[in-house]
């Protein structure tokens, strides 16, 4: 069931509506608050140090909890002896795996985690014992006194190892061996597509994993009170899913006795979207001890939580016409999932979903495999599963443009996916501003005059320009667990004081979602957005919003807020109309007044208007809810990819390379992003610049590197650099100058036409950097990060007369051999397909219990 499908929503009574449901076609001059650089509702507290993050909370008699984590990459737990720890003065509670036997996980198909490992550890950092004490130091010391006896198992260290070693299996579910997922989707007629191609390329790419690195280290405070109710404050992006996981593991504690409050997040980027071991263990510990329990993770533990970018090995075969039109794309991705499922099923699909929404792809074959390995689990990071294939595709297109002698920018412009269309894999594109984005960055950067001509500079270094594009979704079309309820709900309460309070389950992770509520409601009701009280992320008080992930909040919460506000406006209009004796349809809501459009002096203040409505109708409250329109894709696996709308970005990056060493810098970036409509100009800019920053880090330096050493039969396999110093992220000195273009191509599915901005502009950075390095010094680095060493190695290869490239083997040996089975075959829309598959291949996977 889909609530409030914009196509079927009836116009409210009273004034006949001429605008589209979400007012995407409103003219900027009609809008009072939307699009203006108003402060965020929480800006003053944030600059005053008054925002309370989870670790800032303290309760009387609070205990501090620490986790003892596995020192082994892969082992069975033989025995745990906590007696010495229990005897340490100050220790108040100890938990082990047997205390929380029910498994959990973010996706219903992979409930494969335990709050504490009961019998097996799967990576260095997997938690085994939880200890609470009166002081954090005591809990830490006590952990050192626990003796854990392990029986070591063979370590599975990466994609190739997992493919080659079905045993030992990390989990007893999945496809087979250490293959967690296999997907095989075929849209259209690949053979025909390649037959019609005038040029075919096959390339192999690798994208190393990297992590979110939020500045705030995760923290949780849990309090099980004397009424038998549990309250958990946590740095989480998804309070609703944490609530579900707690209810599951803490069974038989009823779900309605559990309250989750999402504190403002000190950065999330997807890294606080899973329910975590420490959150559940803290809750259980509070139930055990009867006292509030806090756990604040160390930086190293944040690396163990991870859920970041999957390492992905990719092989892409593409056939194009002479003008670069893609007649066939055959794409394979191999994901290193780490130790658990997490969002991995969705991540796997995402490595194949969005290739089709930027440029027309006539026939498309996607195969994806996800493996279990003994690393910290991967999951969703900004761009979730799509940056890796985007890197591959955009670099490959750059190579094709070279092969064909085309301008990479023009080639893309000539082959854009059309607006208001269905793609080969049945994604519904609405507004599509990629062309405008490309034009902006091409003009701004002087692309036509400067590309390929910058060459050697007076300082002896080489400059070059690279271009890349991308697209991202404005929220996933389907919820994480199947249900027919809204994805986002907003309640409004109107007070006699004139105060409007908005209740919503959404979570502000710095992106400004609290403010989005304020701006939209303020716009609809004609009142000051900063005067609205926003109550969010509290499962006791606020209606469910699924969480701050997949760039869904602005569109989904925004639309729900819009509906709630419009309903409130109708109620207030009713009260005012009656009091003033003018028809409700003539009333205008602006400047905190409600007045007659034909006689503006006739009216009342907003507060008087609310009172008039309450006098007539009783207590004033409204609700709004939103669920995305139904997807056109009906085949199995078609649930990942559909979205109410797609944002578009284009980037040109300039690099300066020291050809003697491979060291390079990025002095300047031009980034254009089609945001639909910027609800707040300055805040949108901040999201774009932040994406440029994070993309730059991924492009140049960030990686989840592992130490893999063996000595006398002992293998150590552990994250090499779990610290802010050694996991390199760009500082003020690496940040380039950025010219940002906010392109507005309003989409009818978004509030006032808005689309996402939080993730999309990150994606083109990585391929644009790689393409720019090629423009500067003529070498290809087909691997992320494009580190100095790799540029140097490619330059050396060039010097030695070898292929001027660094990357995984270009032939089929570059990827592991995996039997994907038969593909699920779907006719494309232009073949007359209806979104269903026309065959039914055998399936071998089995879900975890």
């Amino acid at each position: 069931m889909v609530l409030d499908d914009p196509t079927s929503r009836p116009a409210p009574a009273g004034k006949a509506r001429t605008d589209a449901p979400w007012r995407h076609d409103a003219r900027p001059d009609e809008l009072k608050h939307i699009g203006k650089p108003i402060r965020k509702v929480d800006a003053r507290s944030k600059v005053s140090g008054l925002t309370k993050f989870a670790d800032d909370l303290v309760l009387p008699r609070m205990l501090h909890m620490k986790l003892l984590r596995s020192t082994m990459a892969h082992a069975e737990i033989v025995h745990i002896d906590t007696r010495r720890a229990a005897a340490l003065p100050g220790v108040k509670g100890i938990l082990t795996g047997k205390d929380m036997p029910i498994p959990f996980g973010i996706l219903p198909v992979s409930q494969d985690e335990h709050a504490l490992c009961p019998d097996r550890v799967r990576f260095v950092g997997d938690p085994v014992v939880a200890i609470a004490a009166t002081e954090e130091e005591i809990a830490w010391e006590a952990c050192r006194l626990v003796e854990v006896e392990y029986r070591e198992l063979r370590t599975i260290g990466g994609i190739h190892e997992a493919a080659a070693n079905p045993e030992p299996r990390l989990h007893d579910y999945g496809v087979r061996g250490n293959i967690h997922r296999l997907e095989n989707l075929e849209f259209g007629d690949l053979q025909d597509g390649f037959a019609r191609a005038e040029h075919v390329r096959e390339d192999t790419f690798f994208f190393e994993g990297n992590t979110h690195l939020p500045m705030e280290q995760h923290a949780t405070l849990a309090h099980f009170d004397k009424d038998g109710k549990l309250c958990v404050w946590s740095s989480t992006q998804t309070p609703h899913y944490l609530h579900k996981a707690l209810a599951r593991v803490l069974h038989p504690l009823p779900a309605h006795h559990i309250r989750v409050i999402a504190c403002p997040n000190g950065g999330g980027f997807g890294g606080k979207s899973d329910p975590f071991n420490h959150e559940i263990a803290a809750a259980k510990m509070s139930m055990l001890t009867g006292r509030p329990v806090k756990i604040a993770l160390t930086r190293e533990e944040v690396f163990w939580c991870h859920r970041g970018r999957h390492p992905v090995l990719m092989r892409s075969k593409v056939g194009v016409t002479r003008t670069g039109r893609i007649t066939a794309l055959d794409f394979q991705s191999y994901l290193d999932g780490g130790a658990y499922g997490s969002y991995g099923t969705a991540s796997t699909f995402y490595t194949g979903a969005l290739q089709t929404v930027t440029y027309a792809v006539e026939n498309y074959h996607f195969r994806g495999a996800r493996f279990f390995t003994n690393k910290a689990p991967c999951g969703p990071k900004r761009g979730h599963g799509t940056p890796q294939p985007r890197f591959a595709l955009e670099v490959q297109l750059d190579k094709i443009a070279c092969d064909l002698g085309l301008d990479p920018a023009q080639m893309r412009l000539d082959n854009l996916a059309p607006r208001d269309s269905l793609t080969a894999n049945f994604l519904r594109i609405g507004s599509m501003g990629l062309g405008a984005c490309i034009e902006k960055v091409v003009a701004g950067s002087g692309w036509k005059e400067r590309r390929g001509k910058l060459g050697r500079q007076p300082n002896g270094r080489y400059r070059g320009l690279g271009l890349a594009c991308s697209s991202y979704l404005s929220g996933a079309g389907l919820p994480i667990y199947w249900n027919g309820m809204p994805h986002s709900g907003v309640q409004l309460k109107l007070d006699r004081s004139g105060l409007v309070t908005a209740f919503c389950g959404s979570t502000d992770i710095g992106q400004g979602s609290d403010s989005v509520l304020g701006w939209i409601i303020g716009e609809v009701l004609g009142i000051d957005p900063l005067g609205i009280r926003v109550v969010t992320g509290d499962t006791d008080l606020t209606p469910v919003d699924l969480g701050s992930y997949s760039s869904r909040v602005t569109v989904m919460t925004g639309n729900a807020a819009m509906q709630a506000a419009e309903r409130a406006r109708d109620l207030v209009a009713d009260g005012v109309a009656q009091k003033l004796g003018v028809p409700a349809s003539r009333l205008v809501f602006a400047d905190a007044r409600v007045f007659d459009s034909e006689d503006p002096k006739r009216g009342m203040t907003w507060q008087e208007a609310v009172c008039a409505a309450e006098a007539r109708l009783g207590t004033i409250g409204t609700v709004g809810s939103y669920a995305p329109p139904p997807a056109a894709a009906k085949f199995r696996g078609g649930g990942v990819g559909p979205s109410p709308s797609y944002s578009y970005s284009a980037a040109v990056v300039e690099v300066e390379v020291d050809a003697e060493t491979g060291v390079y810098t990025v002095p300047k970036v031009w980034m254009a992003h089609d945001i639909g409509r910027a609800l707040n100009a300055a805040v949108a800019m901040g999201q774009i610049e932040g994406s440029v920053y994070m993309g730059l880090g991924e492009a140049m330096m960030e990686e989840m590197a592992y130490r893999d050493r063996s000595h006398k039969g002992q293998r150590i396999f552990v994250h090499k650099i779990p610290s802010l110093l050694e996991y390199k992220s760009p500082t003020t000195l690496e940040m380039p100058a950025v010219v940002t273009y906010v392109v507005e191509d309003p989409d009818r599915n978004g509030p006032f036409g808005a689309k996402e901005v939080g993730q999309g502009p990150l994606l083109p950075m990585m391929p644009a950097v790689a393409n720019a390095v090629f423009d500067a010094v003529g070498v290809r680095v087909d691997e992320i990060p494009v580190s100095f060493e790799k540029v140097f190695a490619a330059l050396q290869a060039k010097q030695d007369g070898k292929e001027p490239r660094y990357g995984p083997a270009t032939d089929a040996s570059g990827v592991p051999e995996v039997d994907f089975g038969d593909s699920l075959k779907i006719k494309t829309p232009w073949q007359g397909g209806d979104g269903t598959a026309w065959n039914e291949p055998k399936r071998e996977k089995k879900a975890a219990k």
């Binding site: 944030k46 500045m215 705030e216 774009i688």
Partner: protein, 174 residues
């Protein structure tokens, strides 16, 4: 000599004396946050690797995670809570709020304290001087650009100019 047991000391924080008891191995970060409940000062590593814990001691920005609290006794400690003058925000706080230079806001207190010290010594810092000054503060949200712009704008306002953010920094390039 200070034994491992607790010491009782009087601190001057944001111009007010505070009497607190704490063990000598406690850092200023711990005492500010856990004894004085001044949680505006943040922490991201406790090893000197992020700058989130920056406070001013006798006007100099330092990392409170690597400074013993006992060594701050007798000195003027200033934290983000001490930036505003009563209900009125400091210029830096205003410009950070207006430009969205605080996204999640976690790095913000540390950056404000470093930037405030810069503006006291240098009324007209160049973009490069601002970058250098903030080269010990990591921010994962903003890409720093709004932060640089906010510092420049605040500098202008502290000089008494009626400066406004550029159109480009708010609406982007045309």
């Amino acid at each position: 000599m200070t034994e491992p047991g607790k010491v009782l000391a009087t601190f001057s924080v944001n111009g007010e004396p505070h009497e607190v008891a704490f063990a000598p191995h406690k850092t200023l970060l711990e005492v500010l946050r856990e004894e004085l409940n001044l949680t505006g000062t943040k922490h991201g590593c406790e090893l000197g690797e992020c700058g989130a814990c920056t406070v001013q001691v006798d006007g100099t920005p330092v990392l409170s995670c690597l400074l013993l609290a006992v060594d701050a006794v007798g000195k003027q400690v200033r934290t983000v809570e001490g930036l505003a003058r009563g209900p009125e925000l400091d210029e830096l706080q205003h410009t950070f709020a207006d430009l969205g230079a605080a996204q999640c806001g976690y790095c913000t207190p540390g950056i404000l304290m470093a930037a405030d010290a810069l503006l006291r010594d240098n009324q007209r810092p160049s973009r490069d001087e601002i970058k250098q000054c903030l080269a010990g503060n990591l921010c994962r949200c903003t890409g720093y650009l709004k932060i640089f712009e906010a510092v420049e704008l605040a500098a202008a306002r502290r000089r008494g100019e009626d400066a406004q953010p550029s159109k480009e920094s708010i609406h982007g390039a045309r």
